[in-house]
Each structure stands twice: as C-alpha cells, then as structure tokens.
Symmetry: C2
Subunit: 151 residues, 2 copies
C-alpha cells in the first residue's frame, strides 16, 4: 500500500461531473497549508503544467478492472481500462496538462483542468517539451470521436 | 490520506538510479496478478501511453517541500519543487510518456520509461493527441539544458 496526501485542492465553478466543455474552465489550485509559496517558485516561467489529481467521488463498486465501452457507448469498442482515460479506474488518478495563467502566493491559476471543485491534487509538474511524445501520435477513431467536444 | 496499490511493476535492465540516457531503455510493465489481460485490451491501438509510477527508493528525509536547485546544480536557479520534475518530491510520483512497442498478455513492452527495475506502477493511460498542450510551449533555459542528454 502507498499512502499519499493531497498537496493542494481545486477551486472552480464546476460542482458537477460533466463529460465535455472543459477548455474554458479556470481553476485555482491552492497549496495545502503544509506548503509555503516557495514550492511553486518560478512555475510561471513555464507555459504549461501537468496536474495529477484524485477522482475522489468515484465509489469503489464503480471501478472497472477489466474492459468496457468508453462512456458506456456501444458504438465504440470495448477496451481495457488502461486503454482509456475514464475516471472509474484502479487508483482513481487523473493527469491533465493545463495552461498556466498566473501564480499568486500559494495559488496557481490554470485553464483547462478537467477536475471539479474540491478535487484533491497529488502533484504539479512543469511541462518540458522534451517530455512530449517524440514520435508521431496514433490513436483509434473512437478516441478522436470521444474527445470532439471535450475542450 | 489516499491509499493506492500498484497495478503493475517495471522490469528493465536499469538497476541503479541515473540521470540520463533513458531513450533506448526497453521496459516490460507487467500487470499485478489481480488483473487479467483484459485491462490492457486494445492499448496497442495507441502509439503512446502515460505511465504514472512511484519513486519507491526515495527516503522521507530527502523529500524537498520548498525550493532547490534542480540536480543541486548551482548554475541553475533555485525553483519550487512543483516547478521541476525531480524525484525527491512530495508524494514521489513520476509521470512519463512512453512509446508502446507491443502487448503480450498481461505484459506491456514500452520504450523510454525513466524508471528503474522494480518500480511500482500506479496507472497506465493512453495518449490522445487532444490531451497534448494546445498552445505553444514555453520553458526556462535551465530545463532545456537539464534535458539535453536525458533521452
């Protein structure tokens, strides 16, 4: 067992879990009081950050450990839970790249975080271009269809 | 507190923690026996995956919670732990995009995972092009210098 503690929490206007239209959502990621603002020092010298967060509202009995249709849409193939990004997954972790807007003390303002208000954040990492895929990206048609209105 | 369990472990030839030259390393990510191969079904229809892993060899007393010079290199500025990607960080999480080579049952073969042999894996997510940064990337000079020989 690995025990983790939230380093921050998300504040935004999204109280309900929704599938789409996350692109314009502005979130404030506020560090837990255990941290000083030093922990975010110079993060604004990067344009983007990866946010690792915990899907805290997923119930244990909803977690898929095998294969399923993404969004339960039968038009799409049944694929393994590790071949999709849905929230009902083992360990309930989310990872999303966001645009950094500004930092104010222990608060980081970001755009495009697909997490609801109150979500616990486990890590913040700066995006370095060298960590992006170094070869051409290939993905199945269902993934492109699923993402059509996501942002 | 959030309790997580490894879903898989890394097997490769890197026994020691090293900073650079990860690009050619081939790793096998083998699912824990709690999972069937169904959990990885169709992951090979994606070219890349994000691996979320746990830096299991980091000692508590090494974890930085404020700011430091990346790799303790005084030529680079002291920046917050959340403005760098070093392993000595709160919650000890790593996230890396890897190239998918093939799947064989409960084993996923990948290239470019910067984790040593025996590393616990907490999640595997397919890379969708819509989850890449949607604006131009900006990063400080020290990050580009640090990454020079990383892959």
């Amino acid at each position: 067992m690995i025990n983790l503690s939230p380093i921050a929490f998300v504040k935004n206007i999204r109280a309900e879990i929704e599938d789409d239209n996350w692109g314009d959502v502005i979130s404030v990621i506020e560090l837990d009081s255990a941290f000083s603002e030093e922990a975010l020092f110079q993060i604004e010298t990067f344009s983007h950050a990866e946010i690792i967060f915990y899907f805290h509202l997923v119930h244990d009995n909803k977690i898929e450990t095998g294969a399923r249709h993404p969004r339960n849409n039968k038009d799409w193939p049944s694929v393994g839970i590790f071949a999709q990004r849905g929230k009902n997954r083992p360990n309930q972790l989310g990872v999303t790249t966001v645009k950094i807007l500004k930092r104010e003390g222990r608060q980081l303002f970001v755009q495009g975080l697909d997490a609801i208000d109150g979500t616990p954040v486990l890590d913040i990492k700066p995006v370095m271009k060298e960590f992006l895929p170094r070869e051409e990206i290939r993905q199945p048609v269902w993934a492109t269809e699923l993402m059509k209105n996501y942002w």
